[in-house]
Symmetry: D4
């Protein structure tokens, strides 16, 4: 099959998979529907699968018309076309979140990681105001190669998890909160200043980025790239 | 004894004890030594005791010359003249802090509360990166009428304590940290956004304010002011 | 009666009442209506009463269908199911606010405190630009075990009250104002820097948090937890 | 007398008196001593008097060598050469400040206004945590044509004064405070959001600017510029 | 006529005219229509005239029904009931603005000043990118007892005017601009740091505050309050 | 050997190695010399090796007196006592930095990783203003299991690296720069908003945190923790 | 032809072309439709052409009614009336942007420059996460007299371009991004701190300003103004 | 002559002159003296001249020992080794500054431009509070191919100049000021929001960057790069 032409309104990075291991992913928010469909077509031709984030219901319907196998999840807002064959999920990533309002971002992380072939365990609504919820899960969480900690408000979940596990914790601040949470700035700052080790941080609400990074780490643990 | 005259460079609020229950306390930082001695003299005459915060070694030596019974603690920087008779400490306040660098602020809170006649239990270096340290103390902490939670960096101690006790938690952010801790702004924001209930916050490094407020709450619990 | 199951989309902290003295309270804003009804059902089964904050009219109608005894106040946006027997309100909390636009937040504080069994006196629209309004109420305010001071704009009400009473003042900054009030940041900063003692601060517009904390303090004064 | 030449390292605005009613005033901070002396010489020749602000002891000694009649006040840091004849001070300006640490800025305002020929009444250490101090002075303050309100921390003095007088209140935030006072940003924001009328604000610690403006207003009241 | 009762949802400051020289002014934005009408009724009974700011068309129609003589200006959003007899406007205030988008705020200032009996000259769209527009007006502007300088973007108009006149300049930053104008923060900061003298600043878009203050200053110049 | 007692001024987390895989590391900055020596003694007894960061020359001399084998590097400010036997360094981590002023932070990362047994390749002064320097190294960098990207100013190095490799990039903003670099805030924000994938961020100047995390990731790649 | 009168609601700077080389350009956003049409009429009469930015569809339709030759581009939101004769575009400006979402701002820059008679080459979607896209264009870009670099998120495009060319780079941060991009503040800060030389920055999303400045620079290169 | 080796502690970009037209310039601040001398040696060998900025007296003395022809200017802090032959300065750049405290930054710009072979006219202390100073120079300023506008405080100089000339204005905010000037942030924001056209901005106190860019623009005007 010939490589498809990139549409004129975009300059798709079709070499990305070779260079970084993963094909380009589409940030759907704000894209005109017609352009989005064009981009999905181009990427689908090149890769046979497409992952998009922050998609709207309306964008879903437009892409579905072109590709009936398109899947859309309104919680994570992930819009994807997957390959037909069943994917084996390998390794283990724990995606944790503090409250029910953080689930959308947590799912963006979890589904991104799954799209890239990783097995994901979910541990939701285990925030630090009732620590027994977290501790009842901690043995399961410790089995993962990488932990994603999603939290808004004061973001303390990342610190508490970081003190309990021996693998990397990817902290995702969310815009959940009000007043001085400043749309996620407060948990972001808190996570950057964690007293625990092994924690790094991605942008506010960036579940996708966390899922991508968790996938890289889990892949290193399962496939190795030893020296 | 006649009420002493307020010195000309200050306008001391000698009615404050009647109005609010506690005499005026001296914020020593930045005050000229001669002025500070004058203020201590005036307050000592009026009250027979004086509490000062953020004092320097040099200020201590000057006040000590006038009042040999003056005590100074370089950790909390509290400079006080106490009444001779032994004070009975009543009730119970738990002063907790996250790391060893927070001890100065924690001691300012503890010693302020003790000056006002409250019994204080100290629980230091129990930060959330090793939660077993906090949990080994939690039964003791739960005996208090009020908990003071002192923490810098991400300030998560307040949230974790708030979820474990049934009494008010006074959170004191400290300027301990670097980079994006922004001299205490990050723990302050985190504490204001705590997912736990019963937490209120005072200014950065304001151990005195927390000790004063803890004293008010403990006094209500021990003396009552029922209806 | 058997403890109800927590719904799958939430991980309710049904042990919280035992641990902290108060059952979980529902932050309604942003919750899907169906989920909200499920949470109310679960909490009602466990506790026989439910308190929710920041509810919308639409959420009210949905919960009311399941529990006809549900009450909703559009000013405070509190959505509650109360136990049938009349509650005796004990102790005394003074809820004060600076302007008429602050009343919504003040009512959230007042009704939260009442839900938890506290007697509340209201002193509204007594801002510092006309201090006679505050002073005509000050004797009544001084009878309280705890004062809640709700103010937007420059938030000076908390400082003035703090200088006049001997009990804790819980300051609640509101997002009332424009321009450099920065949606409540200015009164929050002002309250944190109050020259008066005994003041602590909660998040912007967090009437609920203030009411909860006032309840804890008032309970200590009325029930005691002496040593 | 011939107009003096402006020194080469400066481009003095010797027409300013004609245009705005007051000659150029020297901001001494950071100026090299030799340059400062040159500027004083040039302005003295042109005007027969010089006003400088934020001067250091060292700058004073250098200028004094050239002009033995130079006066320096270490509290306000004002460095001035006055005309010999006694000045009649007219009108009335009230300069108020909240705490003893604000006196330096208040004196900069007061002495600036006096330099320009205005009578100044001082009301210091009358902060809002003990309002009786302010109210014991309010009748005197009301006699002024203009009120300068100098305060750090939460800056509430301006709002309280603004509600009690019928003349303009010039609010001067000071850098007095710590933590979230942010070197004067908090009182500045508070003053800009005052619920009282007739208040305007100058830069942090800008006592000079307030004294200058108060002088303009007092002059309008005493000399008039009626229509 | 008997003093009217203040409505229960407000605590009107009916003594304000005696204390500060001007009756209470209504900030209409966000007030429920029924409440607003009640407040207008109460103030009208007490004063025979009412001034309101930031009113909406809808609020106008409701107030007009009760008081057919009500006037509303959609540019300034001022909603007022004036006394019948013709008012003599005295003194002279210059209201200047930088661009056409600043006219709404400038009109709020101008009409407020006129409501309080001051004569106002308007100089609009004279921003510093084309200084000939300002200089063609400067002689007229210099006749005023007080200048109001309204500007968004970089707010340089205040500095330029301050350097050309000998009377107070009240600077009003506006939220006109985009990007790093930060909704008026940039002109506010610029105005606070003006290199010219005699400038003070009010809150962003606070035309009313500037008009009120200009009225106080103009009144001092015309009526005097000499010593 | 018996576990040593933790000194009274600290509450060392001696279980941390078991829980998280690495023993506690000492943040030396601000610690009193006597306390620091005590902490080193306690940790040395428990682990036979100690790693400390942000140490001063003076602290080094004090620790060296107790443990002559102590090593100190003034560039990274790392103060360590290592086990005698030669350590085999396994896997491969690439530590890159943009400019020569970033080397201190880069070395903190590199030496931390080496202390924990990882092999580190250094690629310094390869900032984006001369991309040929980076591209001449890119093949070497691609051999690593994890890349640490250290940069101040605009922090673009992380984005460029992120687009060229298939493994995690840990971005470390530094306080190198002036003016609007805001002591590292600007590169931190830039790194959080990178258009490349697989990038996460640690606190400003937190070389230690990056080295620790890189060690965790490299260990997963070399030792695996497969499922 | 007689100079047209400026409409009463505006004070058009009809001398601007003589003074600065370009006639006034209309910032359409927020202008009332009737006013906008009036301004277009006035400028058209004076200049025979009009350029407007940030126009809406609705404004376009209104202006088109008066001037049927009006052109509107919904991507750049430029609304212009051009002279009939074909314009020769001279010199060469390279307008580059990082992602497809930056194209609106890039087009505002490009079309502004073209309106003023400059030849523009467009290089879109060449962001740094896939540098081969930029390098495949670099020879073309190097032919320009001036480069405009439009980017949101971390804004690294400006630094990379600045390191590759010998002519001025005008950096335009865009509000493209989310979370800590803070509506364009992050790329703005990054661009101001670029490690490359020859870069200057305009306001967020200010494509017009960049196009205007690029035109000035290109004109200098083509027409010269030598000495 | 053979190209010198780059020292091991740096990775000098010796290809920069070929790529961008100017050799690497040394940012001296914070560099160890020995390293600095090494860098000067390496660059001198490659280019026969070296330009360094932000140098200290001590650095000057060390470099002078190696290269006696080294020149240092304590006002601009520029440390340079120039080629022996007299340089012809071509074209014309106007460097303007608002106050005497801005001269250091202005000189950094002017001397940088002169080092690169441009003729520079200086117009200092022409701030907007006395506009006659600027207008007395405006005809000279208009002769330049590029204007550099250096200002602290409110930074209005850039806007006023931008409205008077037809060539690019490079605005340099300085850290001159106090309080809310926020070390140069206020003039930076003001300059970014200028109502005049043709203005772009560099980092705070970045005189070097402005001089470099002015040189690029002037070179385009004098040498051309026409199409």
């Amino acid at each position: 099959m010939q490589k498809s032409q990139t549409p004129e309104y975009a300059n798709l990075d079709l070499e990305r998979k070779k260079r970084t291991g993963c094909a380009e992913v589409v940030f759907c928010e704000g894209k005109a529907t017609a352009h989005l469909v064009g981009i999905y077509k181009c990427l689908y031709e090149a890769e046979g699968e497409v992952l998009g984030t922050r998609a709207s219901e309306e964008q879903y319907l437009a892409v579905k018309e072109a590709f009936p196998q398109t899947c859309y999840d309104p919680v994570s807002r992930i819009l994807k076309i997957e390959k037909e064959q069943t994917r084996t999920l390998s390794g283990r990533i724990a995606v944790c979140c503090a409250g029910t309002s953080d689930i959308g971002v947590a799912e963006e992380a979890a589904q991104t990681a799954e799209f890239f072939g990783n097995r994901v365990d979910r541990h939701y609504d285990i925030g630090v105001s009732g620590l027994h919820r977290l501790f009842s899960r901690i043995d399961e969480i410790r089995k993962a190669n990488c932990v994603v900690a999603v939290a808004g408000m004061e973001g303390a979940l990342a610190s508490v998890l970081g003190g309990q596990v021996s693998v990397p914790v990817i902290a995702v601040p969310t815009s959940v909160g009000y007043g001085t949470s400043f749309h996620g700035l407060t948990p972001l700052l808190a996570m950057l200043n964690s007293c625990a080790n092994g924690i790094s941080v991605v942008n506010i609400d960036n579940g996708y980025g966390a899922g991508y990074l968790a996938s890289q780490i889990n892949r290193l643990a399962t496939d190795g790239k030893k020296d």
